[in-house]
Symmetry: C2
Subunit: 823 residues, 2 copies
Amino acid sequence: MGQIIEEINLQRQPAPSLFSSIYKHKMYGRAAWPNHYITSFSFLFSETDDLPNKVQIGSNYVMSNGGGAPSSTTHLLDFLEEPIPGVGTYDDFHTIDWVREKCKDRERHRKINSKKKESAWEFTKSLYDAWSGWLVVTLTGLASGALAGLIDIVADWMNDLKEGVCLSAMWFNHEQCCWTSNETTFAERDKCPQWKSWAELILGQAEGPGSYIMNYFMYIYWALSFAFLAVCLVKVFAPYACGSGIPEIKTILSGFIIRGYLGKWTLMIKTITLVLAVASGLSLGKEGPLVHVACCCGNIFSYLFPKYSKNEAKKREVLSAASAAGVSVAFGAPIGGVLFSLEEVSYYFPLKTLWRSFFAALVAAFVLRSINPFGNSRLVLFYVEYHTPWYLFELIPFILLGVFGGLWGAFFIRANIAWCRRRKSTRFGKYPVLEVIFVAAITAVVAFPNPYTRQNTSELIKELFTDCGPLESSQLCQYRSQMNGSKAFTDNPNRPAGPGVYAAMWQLCLALIFKIIMTIFTFGLKVPSGLFIPSMAIGAIAGRIVGIAVEQLAYYHHDWFLFKEWCEVGADCITPGLYAMVGAAACLGGVTRMTVSLVVIVFELTGGLEYIVPLMAAVMTSKWVGDAFGREGIYEAHIRLNGYPFLDAKEEFTHITLAREVMRPRRSDPPLAVLTQDDLTVEELQSTINETSYNGFPVIVSKESQRLVGFALRRDITIAIENARRKQEGIMLNSRVYFTQHAPTLPADSPRPLKLRSILDMSPFTVTDHTPMEIVVDIFRKMGLRQCLVTHNGRLLGIITKKDILRHMAQMANLDPESIMFN
Amino acid sequence: MGQIIEEINLQRQPAPSLFSSIYKHKMYGRAAWPNHYITSFSFLFSETDDLPNKVQIGSNYVMSNGGGAPSSTTHLLDFLEEPIPGVGTYDDFHTIDWVREKCKDRERHRKINSKKKESAWEFTKSLYDAWSGWLVVTLTGLASGALAGLIDIVADWMNDLKEGVCLSAMWFNHEQCCWTSNETTFAERDKCPQWKSWAELILGQAEGPGSYIMNYFMYIYWALSFAFLAVCLVKVFAPYACGSGIPEIKTILSGFIIRGYLGKWTLMIKTITLVLAVASGLSLGKEGPLVHVACCCGNIFSYLFPKYSKNEAKKREVLSAASAAGVSVAFGAPIGGVLFSLEEVSYYFPLKTLWRSFFAALVAAFVLRSINPFGNSRLVLFYVEYHTPWYLFELIPFILLGVFGGLWGAFFIRANIAWCRRRKSTRFGKYPVLEVIFVAAITAVVAFPNPYTRQNTSELIKELFTDCGPLESSQLCQYRSQMNGSKAFTDNPNRPAGPGVYAAMWQLCLALIFKIIMTIFTFGLKVPSGLFIPSMAIGAIAGRIVGIAVEQLAYYHHDWFLFKEWCEVGADCITPGLYAMVGAAACLGGVTRMTVSLVVIVFELTGGLEYIVPLMAAVMTSKWVGDAFGREGIYEAHIRLNGYPFLDAKEEFTHITLAREVMRPRRSDPPLAVLTQDDLTVEELQSTINETSYNGFPVIVSKESQRLVGFALRRDITIAIENARRKQEGIMLNSRVYFTQHAPTLPADSPRPLKLRSILDMSPFTVTDHTPMEIVVDIFRKMGLRQCLVTHNGRLLGIITKKDILRHMAQMANLDPESIMFN
């Protein structure tokens, strides 16, 4: 078909006001076309034969593309026309269409596969394409592991900087400094001449009230400096770097676009400010943000591979793997990381992703281990090994810890969300720097006097998890000696608590209250802040207190029927460290409502199947207790607070509404904006687009029959018209737009029509108006839809978008439906 | 509305031949109703007002059920009518509709919830309902663990019975027998006076050719007896008990009904015959069948809870958890079991199931451990601990083992499938008992002379996995002594191989060839037969051989640049046991194409993250090599061989066909059998049903418009008519059938019409004819559909069933589409 192209001169769009009057005309009749907009025109039929869409049911159905054999001409896209650049991309803060993305990827894959045998170069390209998935997860794993190691080392050093400095080598932290000095014996490893506290350096004295005040002052000084630097960097360079990032990553993985959230600036600033925030002594952890950092790495590396950079669905596979790598380095738990990615953050998780996530998690873990940031060839500071079994009776305190964890979780979520809502809605939120400084100052002032709050939270957890062995010099292990020297090296048999333990109990209680209060105000500050470590610390403190209480009970009442059988005097029957671990898991479970992944993460910390049952009991109790007060975890609560369009895969939709009750238009709404398949002009189409703000328009056969043909996206239509104007000549405002295969028969003097079939989605998802919403929600979740059309007996009735569903769900839960903010 | 009921006398259906003539009439015009079939009649309008289904797009759409508020009257089912018993159940060898099942469950849940506050009894019932999920998985875990322990113990005892008997206590196996006799020292624990070989018992002599022949004879005798008993029990009592069961369980979990496959008879016979089959010395394992046994337990316990017994989708959640428990007890790997269930067998795996699967797996593991069948407080025989690290260079042999595993897997799948196909298609398959006896005889005859094939395969694997320590007395550890006595207790430094090792090498090579050949012929016999253990044994033998070869290479060429840096003389640098383990994982991976779950299972056997990288390298290589020869694992291959309608969630559909090319009716087919919403009579309906064999019929507005109203299942229509005939009076052959909300206006003398709206699915899934098949396949997979209707511009064109899709996929893969056998 030879195409004759003539010159046209099509003016730009008229002002909206004029357009809207045309639009109104169109709604109630055919609009008179204002001729003065057109200066010259031409017409052209590229295809003159008009084949009516005759469809007969069942028998003798003739396929218009000739036979049932698969051929590329039968495909969705019309290959006669070149793909229009820009079609199929998304705006910021919009929801992606998973089905379309997956089709695009398969199309790309087929193209590469068909070209493969053409030349060696094409074959290399296809190999590169096939391997790019593994390459990108390997790179992500390497980068996440390296960054995690870096963060660990620098944060450790800066944390110790608050207390003093190593004279022999400035870049050594306290522990490394003591290792290098030869004079220290094992017993007094905390005292080493090379390490100078600030008081020693400035005042020249290590003891006395003066030096205490000096150290106190320097501690606060450094804490405030770090916090100030962190918040300023975040505010100036990368506002997305604040918080834990997990709510946003969940939203992004569920198919939402937030440009720049995983970009290089966010990565850089988050890495730097995470170190500063951790070192500032605020009640926050680096584990959540590490997931964000890993996802940034995944996103950045995915730009090296067109397979991932050009496809939002494929990119999310990389991000799923990256989040597994993030948890893997945060807790040294590769399997736990994969399960975390599966259970908590991922939305679309095909089995291929499982395998790649596992690989990424392992690579990251091995890089971290070869960096060896803690000097113990372990991935985490608080790796522990217990040697004594637990007894059935102990399940009671474990379950009590679970109840505590659930209560804490529910309380924390409510209090934190209330505070964050206050911050969002009042003037208060306008001074993030001041707020951070204020919280950091209070934290530093209150934390310094108590040794358990002064130290790094990870170290506190390690100390609480660790069982009292003969080599343990901690205050927590100052039991009254009862045994002979010969028995000193047996494993911690139960003993009466000494004054050190009682003192530690008080300090731990104070630390618990302090941590509880500060964590509520800290999570949500404009600095990178994770929640895992503070939650675990709270649980570990509570657990250790309970553990020591049970231990003393067993010691003093070893003739009670409960203890009689298995807990003799001097026997090793209670492990307070295990209680701390169970408490930590319970509190983390209460806050995040994780289950399997949490148990597996903690299992990987201990490395024994033995302790899974106590963990499960506590985590289950904690989840049930927490769920009784509100089913949302902290991440879901923050997602809702921010109004992200997140359709939770876990929450069941239990109402009995039907699709027609949710669909738009409602009774009082204007009629649904639809396009007809072959009797619109470019101008009418543009006015429809300009008059409405919908993201897409159903295309129907005719206004009379209302039978559905397909669906066209606003963005695609705009781009296609723009493109046609630039490239295709003869297109004018009164050109006929058609979505059919063949151009409609037009009068002889009509301008060249514009074919838009290539942007028409001819397989839109439809449901009937009688479909229960539970099925509709299921379809949206499982297929990852952006919208779905509603029909009744084959006629188009309305449309349901993801936002409509979220609004409806909010309404059903008696929440404000307007809290859902984005598309 | 008062209902007047009059007597009618409706005759039974006329003969099909007559009906078909009426049917033909109906197709080309309205059939004349043969009046003599009716003796008396009456008519009745239950609802006289006819509300036309006026639907206007967009504006002023009036909801026929009054407003948008959710109320139970707007629900799918019509509550005015009682539910018809039997509607919503499935026939044997049919596919379930997941969407409908899930809706049913939510409906049930809502009913219980709404009644909850009525009385204490209802509240208890709702509690019981809420807890039944946990109860059923707990029971399943308990039963699976107990059965696994029982099977382990009895199989061990019977296995030793082939060699001899314990005189002091008949019920002791060899090892237990030796424990009880006080005279034995540690060094000669294999010799104990209480344990008598058959030669000793019968001939009275332990040495010499006569006793060897006697033992040989008794070994064969017992092996044949066990095999004969096993195959007879299977053949007579439970034919479903044969094989590994995993292909069928995968199919069942994907939504297929095979009645009795998981019943109590299968459970009982499978448990007994599994013990016999293992003890008979055939080249098979008990791990796969243990999954089947666990699933039987899950299925049986689910009958105690109406929530699970009455809902096929919910029952499959229990089965997923049960399969996790099965792998958990088979390999002592709870987390691996859950991942196996997720990766390999499950189809629909919501996160709730993940948590419950984990629980079931743990319960089962703990029960098994408290039974302690191996006397080592481990869950499996071949738990190992290695102490030396691996070196980067060793990745080369590990990858070579991966290549071997992949080749073995591909070869095994082809050979085994070819053999099974031969068995199915020729007369040969008619003599299963003879075949089993024959294979068992050959196995026993060849196996006895070689100590590595004579012993239990699990024990062989244990020996191959175990590193040569100072206490190891195995032939494999007979290295030439080079060291002083003082060094004897260091861990296995590399040494030159002694004659024992060389002899073992030859025997292992022969054992490898023997196992490879026998496994091909064994898997598929009519006895319970697992594939995990034989595959692992083959890999372990190959791995151990490679390991010893590398070890000797390193010993004799320790100055090569490869070994120079890390492998000095006398240093401990190569662990042949690790090679065996890597080889086992590679071979198992090649056969089953498992990835993450396999690595995690083996990781749980060793308990160290250290060795995950070699395992991953080998398993990945093995999968890639295997996939190069054919993408199917052994289970998928057997599913295809048996023609089960299994839509694999892992395999991507990459073709570019459209829905209209797959849908029925094809060009040459008779037109689609449809029902119209309000102008059919009972007789016309019945003749449509009798004339066709389809499982369901689309309901349309009218033949002219072809607009789709809903979908009605054949089984439901039959049951509903049957039910109406029995209960509703006034229904005759010429009664009008209507699927609309209100009865159509009928002439005054018409009989009472039959309302069938309650069985109409008013929300059938539809796709347009232009939908690419990749999307259709995705919808079927993710939503678990049974059929989907195809429309074009709002008009019904055809239907696609799961079987159509499977046929189409087979066609695209150049396979016989008729190999898909069930619906």
